[in-house]
């Protein structure tokens, strides 16, 4: 972890060495903080998207399952996480459950100790709920006959899902999914309220040192760059799906 941390800092310092001559002083002075924060935001985003996708696929399957218990449990999960503000979810986990302390939480404490892990868990559960709904929408829009045909050719339920249904569901849901990732990126700024020094957290710290409102503009530009990268990535994926 520390090797990774050092590498991250080295990249951030190198980027700032290159940026400082071409950026305003009020940015250059705190540049490593912005870039460090940018990396934390990217980390949280990549990890929560990946883990959230696993949850989303499982929950989408559960929502379509004929097992009443699975079905209802999946519905309650996605309803609760889509129906409450992300900030409330973060605070319940960090200040609420987290305040029980090491004695009461036992082996769960390492997860609750750091704002970063709580941020990751909540962002994952939150995006998992939204994406499961997006995927479910894609799945129910595929003609029923396809699944029946897949099973008739001898594929198992899971094989049919992974080889026939999901690829098509993703194709249908792709633009909505891209939107959700950008929304998640913007939502991730809320982890700054639970001590995480993500891009927003670093920006607020820099602001408190300089009282210079320009710093929020710098952070907005960095968020825009990240949003642009996500959009390009999804555009690239969309083109691949068209040709493939």
């Amino acid at each position: 972890m520390s090797v990774y941390q050092d590498a991250k800092y080295a990249v951030s310092d190198a980027a700032c060495a290159a940026l400082t001559p071409v950026t305003p002083d009020s940015f250059g002075q705190f540049c490593p903080r912005f870039i460090d924060g940018f990396f934390v935001t990217v980390e949280l985003l990549v990890l929560s998207c990946a883990l959230g996708l696993v949850i989303a696929i499982s929950v989408a399957f559960a929502r379509l399952s004929s097992n009443m218990f699975l079905n209802k449990a999946a519905f309650v999960y996605s309803y609760v996480f889509r129906g409450t503000p992300l900030l409330v979810q973060l605070w319940i986990m960090y200040f609420g459950l987290g305040s029980l302390g090491a004695e009461n939480l036992g082996f769960l404490w390492p997860l609750f100790k750091e704002g970063w892990t709580i941020g990751l868990i909540v962002l994952t559960l939150n995006t998992g709920a939204y994406v499961s709904e997006i995927l479910r929408g894609g799945l129910v829009n595929i003609p029923k006959g396809q699944m029946e045909a897949a099973v008739a050719t001898g594929m198992s339920w899971f094989q049919s899902m992974f080889h026939i249904m999901l690829p098509q569901a993703f194709k249908i849901a792709w633009p909505a999914y891209g939107n959700e990732v950008v929304l998640l990126m913007k939502g991730s700024a809320l982890v700054s309220t639970i001590t995480v020094l993500d891009l927003m957290g670093q920006t607020r710290t820099v602001f408190s040192r300089s009282y210079n409102l320009e710093v929020y503009a710098y952070s907005a530009v960095l968020y825009l760059i990240l949003a642009g990268m996500i959009t390009l990535l999804f555009k690239f994926g969309e083109n691949r799906m068209k040709t493939g």
Binding site: S99, A102, G115, G201, T205, Y211
Partner: protein
């Protein structure tokens, strides 16, 4: 006729300035920094800062309205004329002086490190262990400077959130202003101050918009008066048992 107009203009000007003078003075405080400013069970804003503000207003013979404002936005909202003065235990710093003016100091602040008594935390641990502080405070500046760049400093929106994380063990120590720390320690056994209080030459003043020189002079005069007539001492002793000027 000319005379009449100018007399009229004077009359209007006098009325306007009279109105402006009679207008309530709006004072902001954070209401989350006991015992200096906090909300009591009834939801009223009380504390040392509030008593001082009220004493100054009485001295200036002006009606004051005390409003609560979150710490992060307390300076921007002053600049945007949401209120006229900040009496919220705000340290006079060079950075803040770029955006706002301050009156003469109304007390001196020290900071202190607070940790669990049995943790064995010493001053040297600041660079290697996790320490917390409230964001945008002199304590957080001290923490960041002393923990080294990229040290493990956790910043909180309120002081109470930092204390609750110290209690739950998320952070090993926190840096806070000295007097509130002493106040907190009274109610929380098992915690103590690491070493001695730290003098960072921190003076607390009333924040005003730049260019409000009349108001600044009025505050300074009133402050000198309550120092003189014992009102200040009575308030200070009520909260701390000593003169904290």
């Amino acid at each position: 006729m000319k005379l009449k107009i100018s007399a009229l203009a004077t009359a209007v000007a006098v009325t306007i300035s009279g109105m402006a003078y009679a207008q309530d003075l709006r004072i902001a405080t954070e209401a989350a920094y006991p015992p200096f400013n906090e909300k009591n069970a009834a939801g009223e804003i009380v504390g040392f800062d509030v008593d001082i503000a009220n004493a100054l207003c009485a001295e200036m013979k002006r009606t004051c309205v005390i409003v609560a404002q979150d710490w992060d936005g307390i300076i921007p909202a002053l600049v945007n004329n949401k209120y006229d003065a900040i009496v919220a235990s705000m340290s006079i710093t060079e950075e803040r002086q770029k955006s706002i003016d301050f009156t003469s100091p109304y007390y001196s602040n020290y900071i202190a490190l607070v940790a669990k008594n049995d943790s064995g935390f010493t001053m040297d641990d600041v660079t290697s262990k996790s320490i917390g502080a409230q964001r945008s405070t002199v304590a957080s500046e001290w923490a960041e400077e002393n923990a080294g760049s990229r040290g493990d400093v956790k910043l909180y929106d309120t002081q109470s959130a930092a204390y609750s994380d110290l209690e739950s063990g998320r952070i090993d120590a926190l840096v806070s202003d000295y007097l509130p720390a002493v106040d907190w320690l009274k109610a929380n056994q098992g915690f103590g101050i690491v070493g001695d209080k730290i003098d960072i030459n921190d003076k607390i003043g009333i924040g005003l918009r730049k260019g409000e020189d009349d108001l600044k002079a009025a505050f300074d005069k009133a402050l000198a008066a309550i120092r003189e007539n014992g009102t200040y001492l009575a308030i200070s002793e009520k909260y701390f048992g000593v003169d904290i000027f």
